[in-house]
């Protein structure tokens, strides 16, 4: 069981949200968290663009777990579903039990570049330094968050909420984010260059190529490049 695969890290956080509600707004804490996260969708871009090395991440509220009321494919399920003459108490005994959570949980699931050692502390400190205002806003309704007041205490708090992945599959690339964004920029630019420079003489093409390389600076990851979360060309 490991959260690390190559240089990629799978961070899974379940933070229990306080039961109760904000009296002035007549809204449950969990709904307030939901409302705030929905509000992020209305911003020009996600606050997570500012958090270094984040590949992909998501937030949702786990209100409750599910009772499996649909028939499954197991032999016992089928047997008890198909044979109505079995006494009711036996059939009821074979039904899945109903479970309910006593708290709702803020779930934060993130994939980021953590390096081969999986440096989750550095990531969490970077997250706090980049968006502490947003973090306080959303996590402020969670149990135990009162003790968080700086990057180190935030990292400690998050690790208490962390779950370990049983299996983490990386189907993409695990390089640092700036390398990935630079590579995407180069792919886009080289494709455009190849199309625009078809059928030219070798001399002209070579001169154009020199200008192209000077402009795109392939070995420089910082510029020019795509920015994190960029959704327009």
């Amino acid at each position: 069981m490991d959260n690390v695969n190559g240089n990629a890290y799978a961070l899974t956080i379940l933070s229990p949200i306080k039961n109760g509600f904000i009296q002035a707004e007549e809204i449950a804490y969990a709904d307030k968290v939901r409302d705030l996260l929905q509000g992020w969708n209305m911003l020009p871009n996600s606050p997570m663009t500012r958090v270094p090395q984040t590949y992909l991440c998501r937030y949702f509220v786990l209100d409750d777990v599910y009772t499996e009321s649909l028939p499954g494919a197991g032999a016992l399920d089928t047997f008890s579903d198909l044979l109505p003459y079995i006494p009711d108490f036996v059939r009821r005994g074979a039904l899945p039990k109903g479970d309910h959570l006593k708290s709702k949980y803020l779930v934060f699931s993130c994939n980021f570049h953590g390096g081969p050692s999986g440096d989750v502390d550095a990531y969490l400190r970077g997250m706090w330094n980049a968006i502490s205002d947003r973090i306080k806003e959303v996590w402020g309704y969670c149990y135990g968050f009162e003790q968080v007041n700086d990057a180190a205490s935030f990292a400690r708090y998050m690790k208490k909420c962390q779950l370990t992945a049983s299996l983490f599959f990386v189907g993409s690339n695990d390089e640092p984010l700036e390398e990935q964004l630079k590579a995407l920029y180069l792919k886009q630019e080289l494709a455009k260059f190849a199309v625009a420079n078809q059928g030219l003489s070798a001399t002209v093409l070579r001169a154009n190529y020199r200008d192209f390389i000077k402009r795109v600076a392939p070995a420089n990851p910082s510029a020019p490049t795509w920015t994190a979360g960029m959704y327009r060309l």
Partner: protein, 220 residues
């Protein structure tokens, strides 16, 4: 709600598993980790960015404060998170068609798992247990997983090509340049935004158009 961020879709599925069979599932995952060849089927599904399975014991839900009520659950729970390209149907069906056995192996011990074949009960099972994402962020909304993998190949090839770009005659350069493009045929190709890249992008665009008077009912 926003399960979509650019070309990626976020799937969250939570399913109950009996505590005394959860360890079997953990063992299966451990074997899959130790013998990566067992994940060959998953690797063929090149539409996946990242996926993970997390098993939470029924007593392992984070408890952070004495005032927080302790959970009292009958089952342990398996959480599945995936980031993939394409639609929900395409993804679920590609799993069913490519790695039905692998899928059954990972979910086999979950309560009332329907099996991946036939499709309709499997769709129902996933839909029933899926949780919608509230906010989904993608660092590269314009790119699919294959674009990201291809981009790395392009970058490495271009840097290697550039080392000798100034050597030899122009004709030799042209020959090498053509070889570069031929070698990158599978990886080149430009990227464009999907119609709705993110819910935020969509809303921002809508407001911009409204202010510019380009949207029905917008400011004139």
């Amino acid at each position: 709600m926003s399960n979509i961020a650019g070309k990626a879709y976020a799937m969250n599925v939570i399913t109950p598993i009996r505590p005394y069979t959860a360890w079997v599932n953990k063992l299966i995952f451990w074997i899959a980790l130790k013998f990566p060849s067992t994940l060959r089927g998953l690797i063929t599904l090149s539409l996946i960015h990242y996926a993970r399975w997390v098993i939470i014991g029924r007593n392992q839900f984070p408890h952070l404060d004495p005032s927080q009520p302790k959970e009292d659950l009958n089952y342990s729970y398996m959480l599945f998170f995936s980031n993939f390209n394409g639609s929900w149907d395409q993804y679920v069906d590609s799993f069913t068609f490519s790695i039905p056995d692998g899928l059954d192996m990972f979910w086999k011990w979950n309560i009332r798992y329907s099996k991946s074949v036939a499709l309709t009960p499997f769709h129902e099972y996933i839909q029933y247990n899926q949780i919608e994402t509230l906010h989904y962020y993608n660092a590269y909304p314009l790119a699919a997983s294959n674009d990201i993998k291809g981009a790395k190949t392009v970058k490495d090839a271009l840097i290697a090509f550039d080392k000798d770009a100034q050597a030899g005659t122009d004709a030799e350069f042209l020959q090498r340049y053509h070889a570069l493009l031929r070698g990158l045929q599978h990886d080149l190709g430009d990227m464009y935004p999907t119609p709705i890249v993110t819910m935020s992008a969509y809303q921002v665009e809508k407001r911009r158009q409204w202010h510019a008077g380009k949207l029905n009912g917008g400011r004139q």
